[in-house]
Amino acid sequence: MKILIVEDEQDMREGMVQSLEQELYIVETAADYDSALEKIGIYEYDCILLDIGLPGGNGLDLLRALKKEEKGSGVIIVSAKESIDDKVMGLNEGADDYLAKPFHMAELHARVKSVIRRKIQNGSTKITVENVVIDPDDRTVTIAGQPLDLNRKEYDILAYLVTNRGRLVTKTALAEHVWGDAIDEVGSFDFIYSQIKNLRKKLKDSGAQIEIQAVYGIGYKLSEA
């Protein structure tokens, strides 16, 4: 899987590269409009992370150029300008997703995986970890062939942790992903703990070979049992 990161902020770019390389993607970068245009013209990418405000041009123009060449890359707009216009325009121009800065790396991974799954693998791939199989299309989970009964939020939590398996997912990232941005002003995220507790119990009772570990004070990590 090849990913192109178009981002002018060096630290931001490096952080994303580092994090995505851990997932064994091949990551390339472009720091300005011209070099991005050049790379898009020459190479094929599975997913492009596109900043809107670039030195030398606008990310939306890159998006148009990309669509004109009819390359099958998935495009996620990553913008600090959290304006509705950018989002609406980007999605209208054919971007697959929109991610506002600042974002959590866990969220970036989830979005990248989702775009790649939809664009490249035609959305048919189930995610398998040990004896747990998640089908994102039907939103169902089976453990050792047996369906696991989860409510909507439990499913979202599990799917998110599975997508980011082996990585630390902060409580905030999890809460924002599952409950939406609206949740962001809650006094504390302690309530997540009881959700995790329920989920752990269900996984354990069904004999799942994965477990959710708490990372002290920060969040959770899914690992093989």
Partner: protein, 419 residues
């Protein structure tokens, strides 16, 4: 008191004083003139009588006034030579009026055929009290007439002159800095008003410029903060994945992350506020508020359980509002969140929706909140991880669509929005 009436009241006092002084002077001048004219008449009459006496001796028979207006008595040469002619005011009984009336009398002497005669000639006088009262009433009418005409002039003329001023005043009364510049000026030929209009216009423009630049500053600052915040959070997240960290390290990292995330939320809220105020939320559509409330309740279900808060929704009617769906969701969500976050364990939230309004009640602190500062930024009991902007955002959205929002307290905190 309006400036028109104010000047009129001053004018009334000044006029009263002026007219009184003028009346006194006028009265004496008049009286003087009258005496002058009467005395001339008496003098003339004296000449006529002396002429008549030269050939008509019956004149000397008039020793009393009786029906005539003069009386003549013979007098000694000694007395006559020392006599000084004089005009005096005296009283005489008048047959017709049946009372003593003032008369003017000329006492004089003349010589006729070496005899000396004293003569008194009278003529009826102006009755001073009548003159005074006549004058008084005349002046009263004048005074009244003046005041009425001044009032009328004020009302018709001055009102027209002051119209641009009141127009400007009314505009200023309705002027809101955040709503931008829409003051219109009425044309006027009066320099002072023109100057006032120019000055006000400049002042407003200056304020608007300052306000706009401050707003832009906040927006730009918020925008510019996004990237460094993103970098910091992402790097800390990467650091947290390092296997060599101790629990203590993780706890430090965790709290640093939480604070950065709080800063991010704050930033996002500020950006949201300025986007609302800049009317950057476009298309409106019919939004079902009841459905939004239900969705918010679902979103918050876990917190409700966690905090042991009972939520009751009572929606007998459907409330459809034309507004931007994102803002509608933020509006409802912020109010619901507010009622949960600022509630105690085991509390109660009661939401009611009908055709026109949305009511959200919650138990919570047994103390009413300050209505004045409740909806201002960073003022609503900013505590813990709350940004203190939730209700300010609610207010901004309500203002944008001209909904009215009210807070009341009667054992419960109640927020009511009238759509």
């Amino acid at each position: 008191m309006k400036v028109l009436n104010y000047t009129t009241s001053y004018l009334a006092v000044v006029l009263l004083l002026l007219i009184s002084i003028w009346a006194t002077i006028f009265y004496y001048a008049m009286l003087d003139e009258i005496y002058d004219s009467i005395d001339d008449g008496l003098d003339n009459q004296k000449g006529l009588i002396i002429q008549k006496a030269a050939f008509d001796s019956t004149v000397f028979n008039r020793q009393q006034f009786d029906e005539g207006d003069y009386a003549i008595q013979e007098m000694s040469a000694q007395g006559a030579l020392h006599f000084r002619e004089q005009y005096i005011d005296t009283l005489m009984y008048m047959q017709n009026e049946k009372e003593y009336e003032p008369v003017r009398m000329l006492k004089t002497v003349f010589r006729h055929q070496n005899k000396y005669y004293g003569m008194q000639i009278i003529t009826s006088m102006v009755e001073e009290d009548d003159l005074i009262s006549e004058l008084f009433y005349a002046l009263l009418w004048l005074y009244g007439g003046l005041l009425i005409s001044i009032l009328m002039v004020n009302n018709f003329l001055l009102k027209r002159i002051w119209k641009p001023f009141y127009h400007l005043l009314n505009q200023l009364k309705n002027f809101r800095l955040e709503k931008g510049f829409n003051i219109t000026m009425e044309k006027t030929n009066i320099d002072e008003f023109r100057l006032l209009q120019q000055t006000v216009q400049q002042l407003l423009q200056h304020n608007i410029d300052t306000y706009t630049s401050q707003k832009h500053f906040i927006e730009n600052a918020s925008h510019e903060l996004q990237t460094p915040l993103a970098i910091s959070i992402n790097k800390l997240e990467a650091l947290a994945e390092s296997p060599t960290l101790t629990e203590k390290d993780l706890s430090l990292l965790g709290s640093t992350l939480q604070n950065l995330e709080r800063l991010t939320r704050l930033n996002k809220s500020l950006l949201l506020l300025s986007r609302i105020e800049n009317k950057q939320f476009g298309q409106t559509e019919a939004v079902d508020m009841g459905a939004l409330v239900q969705k918010a309740a679902d979103d918050w279900a876990e917190q409700l359980v966690f905090y042991n808060i009972e939520l009751k929704i009572n929606a007998p009617e459907t409330l459809i509002v034309n507004m931007n769906p994102d803002l509608a969701a933020i509006l409802v969500n912020n109010l619901v969140k507010n009622s949960i976050v600022h509630n105690g364990k085991g509390g109660l939230v009661h939401i009611m929706v009908n055709k026109q309004l949305l009511v959200i009640e919650n138990s919570g602190n047994k103390k009413p909140l300050d209505e004045k500062t409740l909806f201002t930024r960073f003022n609503a009991g900013t505590s813990g991880t709350s940004t203190g902007l939730g209700l300010a955002i609610v207010k901004a959205i309500a203002d944008l669509y001209h909904f009215s929002i009210r807070y009341t307290y009667a054992q419960k905190h109640t927020f009511t929005i009238y759509f």
